[in-house]
């Protein structure tokens, strides 16, 4: 393991994480809601409930964030570094989307629901979930970059 110090951004990572945690905190203290994106989206697609309003508003905020960020940040959006020029790039992306959608609903949570909200309330289920998706994510990158891609 070599640590990539050139791309290591501890302060922006901590600050960004802090903002995410702040939203999770306010959503729970204020409304008793969990800031889990896959759950918010998945429920919105399938439940006709009084919860639909805040879920839709929250997701709209998420969609508006990059535009507002680009309007105030001098460097623009740090988004566009994904390469899909490689053969099979789009197919892999679509397969990944299917797996993420299916998996997060089956596991009842993703990086935000289990990784932030779940761990923050010391849920054993969420700890297991995080170990599973971190582990399989790292294994996938290992195989794609160092076994197949080597």
């Amino acid at each position: 393991m070599l640590i990539d110090w050139n791309n290591f951004t501890p302060w922006s990572a901590l600050a960004g994480g802090g903002l995410i945690g702040l939203v999770a905190a306010l959503l729970f203290l204020g409304f008793g809601r969990i800031a889990g994106i896959s759950g918010i989206l998945g429920s919105l697609l399938h439940e006709q409930s009084a919860e639909a309003g805040w879920r839709l508003a929250f997701l709209c905020g998420l969609l508006l964030a990059p535009g507002l960020w680009a309007a105030v940040a001098p460097d623009g959006l740090p988004l566009h570094t994904h390469t899909v020029d490689a053969p099979g790039g789009w197919a892999v992306l679509v397969a990944a989307g299917l797996l993420v959608g299916f998996g997060t609903r089956l596991a009842n949570g993703c990086t935000s629901g289990h990784g932030v909200c779940g761990l923050a309330r010391f849920s054993r289920r969420s700890l297991v979930a995080v170990l599973c998706f971190m582990g399989s994510g790292m294994a996938t990158v290992f195989v794609s970059r160092h076994v197949i891609g080597a």
Binding site: N7, I20, F31, G39, G53, A65, P66, G103, A107, S123
Partner: protein, 148 residues
């Protein structure tokens, strides 16, 4: 009022993801690539988020009601089951293939970033596939919407 606050919270959450570098798939993959040039930044994103959220959850647990006046939800302890294990592993594979998880992908969609847009469309189909399979299996698993 709740809707406006939710909208602002969504914007703030998106800002957090952008600032943290989570919306950059290359950075996410660099975090997952522990055998290569490892970028540990995202561990600090999680650390920062939990550092702020954990005291708030602890505080909420000692309160009877939320600021809105509704009862604070009490989490029922649910066991670790195969759905949790399989679902999380499947999610991690997709995450490792793309560098996208649901939140950052939606932010990318909001930026009209084409790879994120394709990913989100596929992700919604994946969610639909889960619902469809549930129905096909006669609701063997109960649909939950708690954590995620």
């Amino acid at each position: 009022m709740t809707l406006l606050i939710s909208l602002l919270l969504g914007v703030t959450f998106g800002f957090g993801l952008i600032l943290a570098g989570m919306t950059n798939p290359a950075k996410v993959l660099a975090f997952l690539d522990i055998a290569g040039n490892w970028d540990p930044s995202l561990a600090l994103v999680m650390g920062g988020a939990i550092g702020v959220a954990a005291p708030a959850y602890a505080l909420a647990r000692r309160r009877a009601t939320t600021w809105q006046g509704t009862p604070v939800p009490v989490e029922a302890p649910t066991p670790v089951d195969s759905s949790l294990l399989v679902g999380s592993i499947v999610f991690g594979i997709g995450w490792g293939l793309s560098g996208f998880c649901p939140g950052p992908a939606l932010v990318g969609l909001g930026a009209a970033y084409l790879p994120a847009t394709a990913f989100v469309i596929a992700m919604v189909f994946g969610m639909e596939a889960y619902e469809w399979l549930l129905v096909a299996r006669g609701n063997q698993f109960e649909v939950q919407s708690g954590e995620g």
